[in-house]
């Protein structure tokens, strides 16, 4: 491709500026977290003596250990079940194509753009009637339902590309539907499944609205919900708030940096298909 040198330089400079703007808030958060707690440090300034103890203090104040455990429990409740039932449905709708499947699929599509605020009010009363308010179930159960449009859409898009010959061959060898699904199609779907798992993991971890409305105890919430509560409680102590925010961000950042390639491609594909 022919690109002039001047254009190249313009692009490089622009990219560096944009990266700086992206990273600046993180740096600002980190630097501020090192100031003595209770002070109002000015913008981006290195403290006279860095107060690393803010991190341990924030760790204790936020009860980080239990927060993490709560988020992990929510993930364990949401992700495997959502993956399993959406894969089954996607397999049926994309590969077996039963009569009436098309109508079902369109029904799922309708939920694809639904803003969560649209149904939060009935969810509250539904959870209250089930006696699940203030428990992790109040986040887990609705999330499974809310993920179905996207997850089914995603898995169907995968199964529709699987050739029929594979299933025919397996059937001739005497495989029934259950074996066909578990022994042939699930192992062949691992790339699609792992991308979906990453997306569902991230969305659950960052889920805020359901946590704020349905669960008032931060120790039963998702990470994002807990962060909201932490801000409400320690919002006036800026250095401590910054330290706590960074701590709460750390698990996501670590997981992202480890799996970044998968993350980026999953999110890009995810938005392309959605």
């Amino acid at each position: 491709m022919i690109v002039s040198r001047r254009e190249q330089w313009l692009g490089r400079v622009l990219l560096v500026i944009l990266m700086a703007v992206t990273v600046l808030p993180f740096v600002s958060l980190f630097v501020t977290a090192l100031h003595p707690s209770g002070t109002y440090p000015a913008g981006l300034s290195w403290p006279a003596t860095p107060h690393w103890s803010n991190f341990t203090e924030a760790f204790k104040a936020a009860d980080m250990g239990r927060l993490l455990w709560s988020s992990v429990l929510i993930e364990v409740g949401v992700v495997p079940v959502s993956l399993l039932i959406s894969t089954m449905a996607g397999f049926a709708l994309g590969h077996l194509r039963p009569p009436g499947g098309r109508a079902l699929f369109i029904g799922f599509l309708l939920g694809l753009t639904l803003p969560f605020e649209g149904i939060i009010i009935p969810l509250y009363y539904q959870m209250r009637d089930l006696g699940l308010l203030n428990t992790r179930w109040a986040i887990i159960l609705p999330l499974i339902g809310l993920y179905m449009p996207f997850a089914v859409f995603w898995m169907r898009a995968h199964f529709i590309t699987m050739p029929d010959d594979i299933s025919e061959a397996a059937r001739i060898d005497g495989a029934n539907l259950w074996q066909l699904f578990w022994r042939i199609h699930v192992p062949l779907s691992m790339p699609a499944l792992s991308s979906l798992a990453i997306l569902l993991f991230l969305w659950s971890w960052n889920q805020f609205l359901l946590a704020v409305v349905l669960v008032s105890d931060p120790l039963q919430r998702t990470m994002a919900g807990a962060l909201g509560a932490f801000q409400g409680q320690w919002g006036t102590d800026i250095p401590l708030l910054c330290a706590g925010s960074l701590l709460i961000l750390t698990p996501t950042l670590v997981i992202f940096l480890v799996f970044q390639r998968r993350f980026v491609s999953a999110l890009l594909q995810g938005s392309l298909k959605g």
């Binding site: 639904l114 009010i121 009935p122 960052n206 990470m223 950042l253 980026v264």
Partner: protein, 321 residues
């Protein structure tokens, strides 16, 4: 003669028998297909159940609530369309919708325009080390919770924050202000946070789309003497129709359904200047106990999202055919 007619008869009998067996086979096939169809539908049952119980039923309930006056405790009374009429007449409610549409400007148009510009500027070295690092860095805002973005930026945009520090450094100190607390700048400031979050995703989507364009098109354009601007508008932009539609869809939904960022950064203030439908639904339903009007606003929000997003989709389909 005799012989011939018997062969014909025999032939016909064979045919009938054959038809009988194909009939039977066809029926058996159909039965198997139906049985398989039934099994296939059974496989979708858990997903359908979860979807119906936690999405479809709540949507129906929201619509139902929206026709009643209800405080969530005492029996409700029929209110007809009055909750919807109130949205038109109550400046707080209609204002929240106007604010959401204003946010589209920042959440959608800024990231898409800036994303197009940047992606176009760097497509020549999309595989260099700098671009690979940029891919990771620019993606960071996408993976952190919006709450965290809200916390970081409310600190940065505060009176002593980095943004004002930069303005003072540039000798523009008189522009410095508490951006999120100022009546004039609060909504644009919230918009900037959204643009920061969504820019990376849009840029990378558009860049991925650009790498799929056939390079010979550009070579041909250069030979014909087209400049970079002409090249962008006659080759790049038309080839990216699908990606642009995806970016717009994702970001417009993010703007109309915004909640997290506003909740953390401004709580809708100052003086409802940054109130958005999502936050208003939350306040009305759970603090002011006006479940009916909150539900009406929720229904309007769901319809608005569909009304904006569906026409966009047909735009990308036109591009494909």
């Amino acid at each position: 003669m005799q012989k011939r007619s018997t062969t014909i008869r025999r032939h016909r009998e064979d045919e009938a028998a054959a038809r009988f067996t194909t009939d039977r086979r066809r029926r058996a096939l159909r039965a198997r297909r139906l049985r398989r169809g039934g099994l296939a539908l059974a496989l979708t049952a858990p997903a359908v159940l979860a979807y119906v119980v936690f999405v479809i039923r709540p949507i129906a309930m929201t619509v139902q609530y929206s026709f009643y006056k209800w405080d969530g405790i005492t029996p409700s009374t029929w209110a007809g369309l009055s909750n919807y009429v109130a949205i038109l007449h109550n400046p707080e409610l209609s204002g929240s919708i106007v604010n959401a549409f204003t946010l589209i400007l920042f959440f959608s148009f800024v990231p898409v325009a800036l994303g197009l510009f940047t992606a176009n500027a760097i497509r020549g070295f999309a595989t260099s080390r700098l671009a690979v690092v940029a891919r990771t860095v620019l993606f960071l805002p996408q993976i952190i919770p919006l709450v965290a973005a809200g916390i970081m930026w409310s600190w940065q945009l505060s009176t002593d924050g980095v943004v004002n520090q930069v303005f003072r450094l540039l000798g523009l100190g008189r522009l410095a202000r508490p951006w999120l607390g100022d009546f004039g700048t609060a909504l644009p400031a919230v918009g900037v946070i959204g643009a920061w979050v969504l820019f990376g995703l849009c840029m990378l989507l558009l860049l991925a789309g650009m790498t799929k364009i056939d390079p010979s098109l550009y070579e041909a354009a250069r030979v014909d003497g087209a400049g970079p601007v002409r090249e962008f508008f006659s080759i790049t932009l038309p080839s990216l129709r699908q990606e642009v539609v995806v970016c717009l869809t994702v970001t417009i939904i993010a703007a109309l359904a915004s909640f997290d960022i506003v909740y953390i950064a401004t709580q809708g203030g100052p003086g409802n200047r940054t109130l958005v439908p999502g936050l208003e639904i939350y306040y009305l339903a759970f603090f002011q106990r006006q479940v009916g009007s909150a539900s009406a606003l929720a229904v309007v929000l769901m319809l608005l999202v569909l009304a904006v997003v569906l026409p966009l989709q047909s735009l990308s389909r036109e591009g494909k055919s």
